[in-house]
């Protein structure tokens, strides 16, 4: 597939507004301001069924449609979610650092569609370079009249502010992000009310991911029909960035049409080019740390799109594919990811605050050879009483994915650990002795 979102990545000076405009940039914004009403833009995006690239896969156009028709004088905010905190995900960073104006144009178009006057980019605190690049791009866009008062001579005005987070995974959750941008502790809110009704500063708010907003720009440039033809079916369409990491030959971000077979991504010559050292795949986490693992058998015919991965009992999430080879201890993987989740829980809901460190402690014990057989079932039971409505947000549902899926699918490795007090595979299989 021809590169779309990453077309300009790697070109000289791709960050500058000059090269962006020379490559046809801001034509989409010019087009909507000159010839489309906000509702027509929303309709086009709705028609293209641009599903949210941040993880949930919810249609952006439908989300915009949830905004109240009459806001009773309140402004509408657009927040660009550039927190990209899901482990294994690094696609938004690529877009922001290499082609920031694509995002700004996407935000301007989206803001026009939802009648937003003030928009924010909430960027992950660790993305220092990204924030600097975006701030420069925003300044350039103001200077050229693509942002600010009466953009391109129209009645549409827009201000964009780059806001840096302080380093919390949970601020990637949209209501956690809203709390954070209000200057509060990053804790997800109770829903309803949903952000479209009452979000940032108690005003109607739309939160969209970086890649989603870039897709909006592409839909306006090339049309909904073009967008829908990319992919397995109309519900899973458009260009998509896949982040692949783990023990593969060529980890990185690859752009392909939605629905790329998972095996192609791992083994394809255009993509990751297979496993390091010719080892076998043991497991694949298809959608970032919060997605349940798939076994080698399950990846055989798995199209990488929202419904395709869901059919396998996992989720596409942020399309962060983490490949785990046969020499990696699965208990160690689960322990590592549990450490992350126990560190990142915001701490407001009891099951998550208490459950995530408990999972980590039990997994650590098993990993260190001090586990008991009943710990394996205990892990599954702890997981099952943390999720499905037990908490305000879905963090707990994410946190249980690694231990629960690994216990279910790789139970023999856990049992081996308990019986032999060491890993079944990998370098540490020999090192740790009873």
């Amino acid at each position: 597939m021809e590169k779309v979102l990453t077309r300009r990545v790697g070109q000289p000076n791709s960050r500058s507004i000059e090269t962006y405009v020379a490559d046809g940039g801001y034509a989409g914004l010019r087009k909507v301001l000159a010839s489309m009403t906000p509702d027509q833009v929303t309709e086009e995006v709705k028609k293209a069924n641009v599903r949210g690239r941040g993880g949930a896969g919810f249609s952006a156009g439908v989300k915009w449609g949830f905004l109240p028709k009459d806001t009773k004088g309140k402004p509408i905010y657009l927040l660009c979610n550039a927190d990209e905190s899901e482990p294994g995900t690094f696609k938004d960073r690529l877009l922001m650092e290499n082609d920031p104006h694509q995002l700004l144009e996407g935000m301007a178009i989206a803001s026009y569609a939802i009648r937003c006057r003030t928009a924010y980019i909430y960027i992950r605190g660790e993305f220092y370079d990204g924030a600097r690049i975006l701030e420069k791009a925003v300044a350039e866009a103001y200077a050229k009249g693509f942002l600010g008062e009466k953009i391109l001579g129209s009645d549409f005005s827009l201000d964009i502010t780059v806001h840096r987070g302080a380093g919390a995974y949970i601020c990637g959750e949209e209501t956690g992000l809203i709390e954070s941008i209000e200057g509060k502790r990053g804790q997800p809110r109770i829903k309803p009310p949903f952000p479209a009704v009452s979000g940032a500063f108690a005003c109607p708010t739309i939160v969209n991911n970086v890649e989603t907003l870039c897709c909006v720009k592409q839909v306006i440039d090339r049309g909904a029909d073009w967008f829908m033809k990319l992919g397995r079916n109309e519900k899973n369409a458009g260009p998509k960035l896949y982040c692949i990491s783990g023990q593969v030959q060529r980890p990185g971000v690859y752009e392909a049409a939605m629905g790329l077979p998972l095996k192609d991504l791992i083994f394809g010559a255009d993509y990751a080019q297979g496993m390091k050292g010719g080892r076998k795949v043991k497991a694949v986490i298809p959608g970032g740390a919060s997605a349940p693992m798939l076994t080698a058998a399950e990846i055989e015919d798995c199209p990488l799109d929202f419904d395709g991965v869901a059919a396998k009992g996992s989720m596409l999430g942020s399309a962060a594919i983490i490949v785990i080879d046969e020499d990696t201890c699965i208990v160690n993987v689960a322990q590592n990811l549990s450490k992350f989740f126990s560190h990142e829980s915001c701490g407001q809901c009891t099951p998550c605050r208490e459950g995530t460190p408990w999972l980590y402690k039990v997994l650590t014990r098993i990993e260190q050879g001090e586990g008991r057989m009943e710990d394996i079932d205990l892990l599954a039971r702890i997981c099952n009483q943390m999720a499905n409505g037990m908490t305000i947000c879905v963090f707990a549902d994410a946190a249980i994915a690694p231990p629960l899926s690994s216990v279910t699918k790789f139970r023999q490795e856990y049992e081996y650990h308990v019986t032999h007090k060491r890993c079944m595979v990998g370098a540490r299989a020999q090192l740790v002795t009873a």
């Binding site: 126990s342 701490g347 809901c349 099951p351």
Partner: protein
């Protein structure tokens, strides 16, 4: 179609209730209630920790989980908006398992050292664990510790112990939303989350101990009450705070005739769920006493006598002076610390003698305020009942004089009757007392000695608030009853008993009257006291520390 115009049906008045189905049983509940309170109204307890009727709803503890028809996942009751036809299930296996799960999570890092925890007996965690938890824990790891955050004073009154905290944030929300001082916050996150003060600034607002009240566990306790008594030994008595004229409803908690603490009583019209630190920590001062017996001065000697003898002596002195100089030689001083009944008796004694020389004064204090359900109620007096003393007529009558005239020497009574030796700070001021001492005879009733009792000719031993009953009239004009926690130790008697002895000795009143009878007399004579609103006397309902179920006040 008929062309006859028909009148539109009269608009039915908007219903202010919803029909909510609890476990199959439809119940009419007010629209404004939270689901937890609505369930309570239907007789169903939904266990909870973080929900408090006066604090914002955060849905964090995940204890109040219920099943809602039409929702696939389990829901937190506190965050579920009420609506007509809502069907709630609280007894299904899913609900029971979810509650047990939350209890297990709450307890894995909790010390479980109830035998040495001061909250035991009034601990919501303990209660809910018995009610909804599993008996055994599957947690076999080391428990979380907060080495520098346990047993530490975070303010002048409150002791924090983070190992016991369940992170419900009630205290944080109290300091933010009620006191408006925002001293408390969450620090860190995840399993290391703890509640502490911002930058080590003390929790030092005027209502800081309410943070310990709302704490459902032993994480926040007060330095003053901590480890003084097991709470199940304490009797609760409905009373009114003596600290100022706001008249916060309190319960006196006592054991073996000793007051251990005040807790607020829920009265949405006055103090709601709250109580200020000033008033709360007056509780133990009620135990102070160094006037144990009646005394009479004879020359330079002070002799212990029995109370009737002392009363007889006072009565004789009053009669002698009245006979000699007429009522102008008598002066009666009431007190803003005494009840309406007592001040009324004093007034009636003066009336009986035809004496217009009567007064009551009050010390002003710095303004005290408390947040009622709807507004801040502000008080300015250092005593609970100045308004009542005035209502009972303790102001100079026609042709009479008041305390100011006595102190300045403009008036020179021969006999001064002071119904409460601690009526104001000036009673302990030697110069002012010397001015009073110009009288030939001074009679006082007292609990603790001061310059006035040392100068007096007759001292009667009087009861404390906890040993007394009666009514106070607060700054809002609300007449509120306080009840007796325990009897005074003889020969100590309540002020009204002493006054009634004196009145009958002087030939007025009924020896068998009780405070209720006297209130009946007040109702007949005093304007505004004839029709006390229903429930006003009764005041608020008793609360248990940390337990804030709906108590009939939405």
């Amino acid at each position: 179609m008929s062309s006859t115009p028909t009148a539109p049906p009269p608009p039915s008045p908007p219903k202010d209730t919803f029909t909510v189905v609890f476990d199959g049983k439809p119940v009419e509940v007010p629209k404004t209630l939270n689901l937890i309170d609505a369930a309570k109204l239907a007789g169903i307890d939904i266990p909870h920790f973080c929900y408090h009727p006066r604090l914002s709803v955060v849905g964090q503890c995940r204890m109040c989980l219920v099943e809602i028809e039409g929702m696939p996942k389990i829901q937190a009751a506190c965050t579920t908006p009420l609506k007509d036809g809502l069907s709630v299930k609280t007894t299904t296996d899913k609900v029971k398992n979810s509650r047990a799960a939350t209890m297990e999570f709450l307890l894995i890092n909790h010390p479980l050292d109830c035998p040495i925890c001061d909250q035991a007996g009034e601990c919501t965690l303990q209660d809910n664990s018995f009610g909804y938890g599993n008996q055994l824990s599957r947690f076999d790891e080391s428990k979380r510790q907060y080495p520098t955050f346990d047993r530490a004073m975070i303010g002048p009154h409150v002791v924090a112990d983070m190992t016991r905290c369940i992170q419900c944030t009630r205290c944080i929300r109290f300091a933010k939303e009620v006191s408006g001082t925002s001293e408390l916050t969450f620090l860190d996150r995840g399993g290391r989350t703890l509640v502490w003060t911002h930058d080590g600034q003390p929790l030092a607002n005027d209502w800081s101990a309410c943070a310990a009240d709302v704490c459902p566990v032993g994480a926040l306790t007060t330095q003053e009450f901590r480890f003084r008594s097991r709470v199940w030994y304490l009797n609760k008595t409905k009373s009114v705070c003596p600290g100022c004229n706001v008249g916060c409803n309190v319960s006196i908690e006592s054991k073996d005739d000793v007051v251990y603490r005040f807790l607020p009583r829920l009265n949405p019209e006055v103090n709601d769920y709250w109580l200020c630190d000033h008033g709360r920590f007056l509780s133990e001062s009620l135990n102070a006493r160094d006037v144990h017996k009646a005394t009479l001065r004879e020359g330079s000697e002070v002799k212990d006598v029995i109370v009737p003898l002392a009363v007889e002596k006072i009565s004789r002195e009053i009669k002698a002076t009245a006979g000699k100089t007429g009522p102008s030689g008598l002066f009666f001083l009431g007190s803003a610390h005494l009840s309406n009944e007592e001040n009324f008796l004093l007034r009636k004694i003066a009336d009986h003698l035809g004496c217009a020389n009567r007064d009551a004064v009050v010390d002003t204090s710095r303004p005290r305020k408390i947040k009622s359900r709807t507004e801040w109620v502000e008080g300015d007096g250092a005593a609970p009942n100045f308004r009542g003393a005035r209502d009972m007529g303790l102001t100079p009558g026609k042709g009479g004089y008041g305390l100011e005239a006595v102190l300045s020497g403009k008036a020179s009574p021969e006999v001064i009757v002071v119904s409460d030796a601690a009526f104001a700070a000036l009673a302990d001021d030697p110069q002012k007392v010397a001015a009073l001492r110009r009288a030939r005879f001074i009679a006082v009733a007292a609990r603790t000695s001061n310059a006035l009792t040392r100068a007096a000719d007759a001292v009667l031993p009087a009861a404390a608030l906890s040993e007394n009953e009666g009514t106070f009239t607060n700054v809002q004009g609300r007449v509120q009853r306080f009840e007796r926690a325990f009897l005074p130790k003889p020969p100590v008697r309540a002020h009204w008993e002493l006054l009634l002895l004196l009145a009958t000795a002087l030939g007025w009143g009924d020896r068998n009257w009780t405070p209720s009878d006297i209130l009946g007399e007040i109702a007949k004579e005093v304007e505004g006291y004839g029709h006390i609103r229903a429930g006003e006397l009764e005041g608020g309902s008793l609360l248990k520390k940390g337990d804030f179920a709906w108590a009939g006040h939405p």
